[in-house]
Symmetry: C2
Subunit: 106 residues, 2 copies
DNA sequence: ACGATATATTTCGACAAGGGTATATTCGTT
DNA sequence: AACGAATATACCCTTGTCGAAATATATCGT
């Protein structure tokens, strides 16, 4: 099972994700919109599904894939302790210093 | 040259980055703090340097590595068009719908 | 200049990811 | 039941990454 960042390390998968931002798509939709062969699309969607990036809703012979939010939240949370470095908000800096203190105590 | 997400896909590199969050470190610092062999540390730092995650400041025989902000901003910007999905702020949703309209026009 | 310490690079082998092609499965239609 | 469309999986091959070990480079102290 790949980690969240491993999933995002593939440009093809990021393209699929970006396309799904426009709304749910079937495999053939993605195949045509992105010019990626059907088996490759299916394989990547399998990875995206296993890692929680998408969920699938079968409707007849079509399978509609749509984005889920958890992995994005995860990236956002990972980013959190680094934000003080470039966001010049005083409260961020303050919270960072507090967190620093906590870490150094343990 | 690896892309930003490819760099972050390595758990070892994320560990190095997290350690550098505490402040600048030398190779041997990272070697001891993380239990990673010296050549491996150097090699990952090379990658992190080539991709803008860190910069190096030589001081005698030591080389101090410290974080740079650009790649983090990049991740933050990549995340931006997905934020409306889980952040329930009305302005985010509004801006998202505006952006949607723009995209569909082109 | 020499030895020691700190860091960088090279080489190698193991391993896994990615895509192409072929094939299997599933479901609707007739 | 048979066929066709949509999707999933299996297999193969190529390629790139990772870490280990060995070696090279740089800088300081003497």
């Amino acid at each position: 099972m790949l980690s969240t960042f491993e999933v995002l390390s593939s440009a093809v998968r990021r393209d699929i994700i970006a396309q799904l931002r426009r709304g749910p798509s079937s495999v053939s939709d993605l195949n045509e919109a992105l010019g990626i062969s059907q088996p490759v699309v299916s394989k990547h969607l399998r990875v995206l599904r296993d890692t929680g990036f998408v969920r699938v809703r079968p409707e007849g012979q079509r399978r509609w894939y749509e984005l889920r939010t958890e992995p994005f939240r995860e990236v956002d949370q990972w980013l959190e302790p680094y934000r003080w470095m470039w966001e010049d908000r005083l409260d961020r800096l303050g919270r960072h210093l507090d967190a620093q203190r906590e870490e150094n105590q343990s």
